[in-house]
Symmetry: C2
Subunit: 364 residues, 2 copies
């Protein structure tokens, strides 16, 4: 993997990644030359025992781009620079222009609860220069590179960072209006509530069984087989027995692996194949781009080994039928207990029935 770090005129970082050497002399553009001066802060939520991030962004200069303007495509009209340059590269990562967290944040307001500067990072990850494609249609090798990029961003996290979470929000149903294939990486100066809970559950299991929770569950999923969507020697994708969303799917290495950077070459390539299979099956299910939130959970960054924590992806699709949303309401958002009107076994059957070929993808 080759990479090149650049600086945008507004002070934000841009890193280009490729399988091939990247041209020297690429200059990083930005839609605006105005210095990004985000100063988000955190407030402590005493009733839930968690941090909430606050950022109020002033809109920059009046910017009236042409209708086809796509900030994630390589700049074609120098009068309307995008976030990305022309040139040969595969994947690009840059600092979000309107971040919820920023390493430069400082002097949080005094309040009746504890406050802190929101010293995290919010990065945008552009999967390809082609605005018309999708994660499911990228080559397995590109997905493999993406897994490497996620690992690289984890290694390069600033010293304040304790948790790095790559995710993709896909589809208007989850609020995404920009369809150029891209994801995000949020890096937190603390371990946020959900991974913290996962850590706690996996730690308790490890102490009790001297064995890792998710790899053990995966062995049981393999033995049961009825919920498995993809399986090879190194990786698995399955509708988990405890799915909270009707079409929830998890992807994981089969052996214990704590972080992206702990993956073997074989494991990483197998995860890429599993990822392609799952996203192709999703898009094939109803022959429409399938909306989802995809999140990759890994162990926290704290210089301790984490044999208990299993790297894995969880997909939370907002649809329960082709055109019906599963709304999160009273029991999910207020109580925290999910109610699923379908059985994971039934939904797994539907996804198993979608035939895909990860070698010869079809255009959406």
């Amino acid at each position: 993997m080759y990479s090149q770090e650049l600086l945008k005129p507004d002070g934000r970082k841009l890193t280009l990644y490729s399988r091939f050497p990247i041209d020297e002399g690429i200059v990083a553009p930005s839609p605006s030359n105005e210095k990004v001066a985000a100063n988000p802060h955190l407030r402590w939520h005493p009733l839930r025992g968690e941090w909430v991030a606050y950022a109020s962004h002033r809109q920059g200069r009046t910017f009236m781009p042409p209708p086809q303007y796509n900030p994630l495509a390589p700049t074609s009209d120098p009068e309307f620079p995008t976030e990305l340059p022309q040139g040969r590269y595969d994947i690009a990562v840059f600092d979000n222009r309107f971040p919820s967290m920023s390493i430069a944040a400082h002097d949080p307001p005094a309040s009746i609860v504890e406050t802190l500067p929101a010293n995290g990072t919010c990065e945008v990850v552009v999967f390809t220069q082609d605005p018309q494609t999708a994660l499911s249609l990228l080559e397995v090798d590109r997905l493999d590179l993406l897994l490497q990029v996620w690992g690289d961003r984890t290694s390069k996290a600033p010293p304040q960072i304790q948790y790095v979470l790559p995710f993709e929000n896909r589809g208007v149903e989850v609020g995404v209006t920009l369809h150029h294939p891209h994801g995000q990486i949020y890096s937190y100066p603390f371990v946020p509530p959900v991974p913290a809970r996962m850590l706690e559950c996996q730690r308790a299991y490890y102490q009790q069984h001297n064995s890792s929770l998710l790899p053990d569950l995966i062995q049981q999923e393999i033995a049961a087989s009825e919920r498995v969507i993809y399986l090879d020697e190194y990786a698995i994708a399955f509708v988990p027995v405890c799915a909270r969303y009707p079409y929830e799917v998890w992807i994981a290495p089969i052996a214990p692996v704590a972080t992206f950077n702990d993956l073997s070459v074989e494991q990483r390539f197998a995860l890429a194949k599993a990822l392609k299979t799952v996203t192709l099956k999703y898009d094939g299910l109803w022959n429409r781009p399938f909306p989802y939130l995809m999140a990759w959970f890994q162990a926290p960054i704290d210089s301790k080994p984490h044999p208990e924590f299993q790297l894995h992806a969880e997909f939370y699709p907002p649809l329960r039928t082709k055109d019906r949303l599963k709304y999160l309401a009273g029991t999910e958002l207020a109580a925290g207990m999910f109610a699923n009107d379908t059985l994971p076994e039934e939904k797994a059957k539907e996804l198993q029935a979608v035939v895909v070929n990860i070698e010869t993808p079809v255009k959406l």
Copy 2:
């Protein structure tokens, strides 16, 4: 308060509540006479350490009601019975026909994770016989009665129940297509994750300070005053300093009160006034019915006193502007850290500026 318990032909319970004596001889209708045989179960989610409920409902007999059919209005055409009878009563509570939990649930399927019958209850609470009104337009006395009804349902919870959560999902934005004013009560055979976390945080604070967390925070909110929406001698409504949603509002008694049934008459009436004020301000903000999830948190049912737990309501509105949703995505759903693009102080100012008169409501 008067009440009358009835049984529907399909075996479900219906309780009518009123300020006045309820006619004898009212017969409880049901859209279907088919026995409700829901058998939901719980599965343990080992990575999150929480229960997930599964219910797959067979649709009953083919039912083709007239277009104006409203299952929550009193039955007018005996050929198409609704959930409610004619007669003089104010509020009605009945068992949901398609429940996520049921006291009668039994024999959960064996699985690779622990399973249990989902022995909870899911009740529908109809606030009024008038389908055209809203919580904000009901008289303060009706809201006071509603608070009493929530208390009564808490007292009448079956012995398996450990937590009773009344809530209202309002608006198509949160998936509600039935606009007749109504809410729900979910009663859980365990303390669900969110109230469990609140209990834990409040307990730790109480042990450290020998004083209650939320009442102490409320004193600070009163002193700061900038986020207060309603205040009298007994109750307060405010945009909390740690709001996760732009227009989040909490309502609470000012003195420590653990459950609905611990409220004094004065406290209850003050909460009713605060509730009317908040919902009127919401509807007045953009002159449109304001969508929200409203949840009322109280102490668990475990025969122990809970001086640490404060009864209160939390409103989670899905809109961030008149026509823009705040989508819950990567950081909220996957990490559990909410990112709020607005400051609670600014949103409180907007709500403070909406002038309402809780004595003379205007039709929506």
